[in-house]
Amino acid sequence: MRVLKTSLLSSVQDMGRSGYAHIGLCQSGAMDEFSFHYANLLLGNAFGTNTLEIYLGGIELEILTDTNIVLTGADADVRLNGSLMPLWKSFYVKSGDKLSLGFAKKGNIIYLGVKGGFESKKLFDSFSYSQKEGLGSALKVGDKLEVFASVYKEKRKLKDEFLPKFDDELSLRLSPSYQFDEFSKEDVKTLLSSTYTVSPQSNRMGFRLSGTPLKDVKKGIISEGICFGAVQVPSDGEPIVLLKERQTIGGYPKVGTVLPLDCFSLAQAKVGTRVRFEMLGFQQASSLMREFYKDFIS
């Protein structure tokens, strides 16, 4: 595929890096795994095959190889040679076809999956672009993405009942972790009873939430390893949910960890989306995630 027009940020993403955090390499990887895994499932791809992660749409590509593709994630008009195509349904494309994406109406990220994945260079066992570390690169006009040719035509569609809703209000299920016990009862109450909104200062590293600040926040803690979904509270008292491109260690207190499924939804939440926290025990959180991954790992 050749890139004719780029978006705000488009890059190749897979499940990110594992096994290099001890030397400071961040995880990176697909921000919305829900849409990412379904893209691969609808193509019959292996678990974790790389896809394009396209922020806000607006991209144009020329197909150079006959193959199957699928688009999942944010709601945008997808056109193949000018005709509207469905999302969440794999279809066949031919050399010379032009694929164009309108702007994302609901959600932020569109995943473009291709049968067999994109042929590109692995760095530290992953294809994922990592902006902070300069690993890989974002798509530029003129870039050529190598894909494998496929003959058999895929036509799989996700059932409507599974489609994400992109609501204006999002509930984040939070499990108590890290310094939870060191936050005052009043601050925990504030966190659980307030409505926050997604701040414009949100990116692949983390989503900042604006709203009632927590009052009694420790200035710093001894720097420690940070997991996906950890909710960091810096001294201004407004929570930040740390996502795929988070730093490996950090010295701000953390009040809990958001269920990964809800982190995937948060990644798709537009600036201004209302967000509330509710508590969920780790046992339930773990079984929800096992249930989720079971559908994709065969």
């Binding site: 720097s223 390893g225 996906f228 490996t248 990964p260 780790f282």
Partner: protein, 222 residues
């Protein structure tokens, strides 16, 4: 010692409540042990803790009991432990951007600051911030200096700095507020390095003051 779940597929082992050389050595010993465990996918050792990533399909309780078993075993394997590294540094005024300020703050001469900085053996407590950026301590209290109140937008790569009682080298150009004392020519993060990072948590590091000639001959950049 405490093992606490931190997410559906991670837990954190706390070995101490305070930063100390003893705690740092404990982290290093356990880190060496855990690196060999097959049920662990990733590890993030830091000053007093180790974050352990496991398979999301595994139950935390079973991971916890495996970790407890490992923790209770004798530290027999810890002897293959740590490396001692010597890093050449050019403490020249054209690269040691804050040498004079640090000397002033310490009420010492520049030469004395260099002598003190090079006569300590440091422990790598943690790696983070940038790939290969190693937090080392403790800096001799005579030259302890706080970070710049206005961080620099660009610190040249391979600059050596101190911040309070810590010392570190920037593996690549970066914004930062550490007080810069000098520069090395040793690559710290590179695909061609074994393990990719020059430093690893638990390393014992000392710095050696070298001349400008030696620095330049080895590819150092002023």
């Amino acid at each position: 010692m405490k093992i606490a779940q931190s997410s559906v597929n991670t837990c954190i082992i706390y070995l101490s409540d305070t930063i100390s050389l003893t705690a740092g050595k404990k982290v290093q010993e356990l880190y060496v042990k855990l690196k060999k465990a097959k049920f662990i996918k990733d590890l993030i050792p830091s000053y007093t803790s180790i974050l352990v990533e496991f398979d999301v399909m595994d139950e935390f309780e079973s991971v916890k009991s495996k970790l407890e078993k490992l923790l209770s075993e004798d530290g027999l394997e810890s002897k293959d432990g740590f490396r001692e590294l010597k890093v050449p540094v050019y403490y020249g005024e054209e690269v040691g951007l804050d040498l004079e300020d640090v000397a002033k703050h310490a009420k010492l001469s520049v030469e004395e600051v260099i002598k003190i900085h090079t006569s300590t053996s440091y422990l790598v407590y943690a790696i983070g911030f940038l790939p290969g950026f190693a937090y080392m301590g403790e800096v001799d209290e005579r030259i302890v200096t706080p970070r710049l109140s206005n961080p620099r937008a660009k610190i040249p790569r391979l600059s050596l700095g101190i911040a309070d009682a810590q010392t570190a080298i920037y593996p690549r150009q970066s914004p930062g507020g550490w007080r810069i004392l000098g520069k090395t020519y040793v690559e710290l993060f590179d695909l061609n390095l074994k393990g990719y990072s020059f430093f690893e948590v638990g390393d014992r590091v000392s710095f050696e003051s070298i001349s400008k000639e030696e620095f330049l001959e080895n590819g150092g950049e002023v």
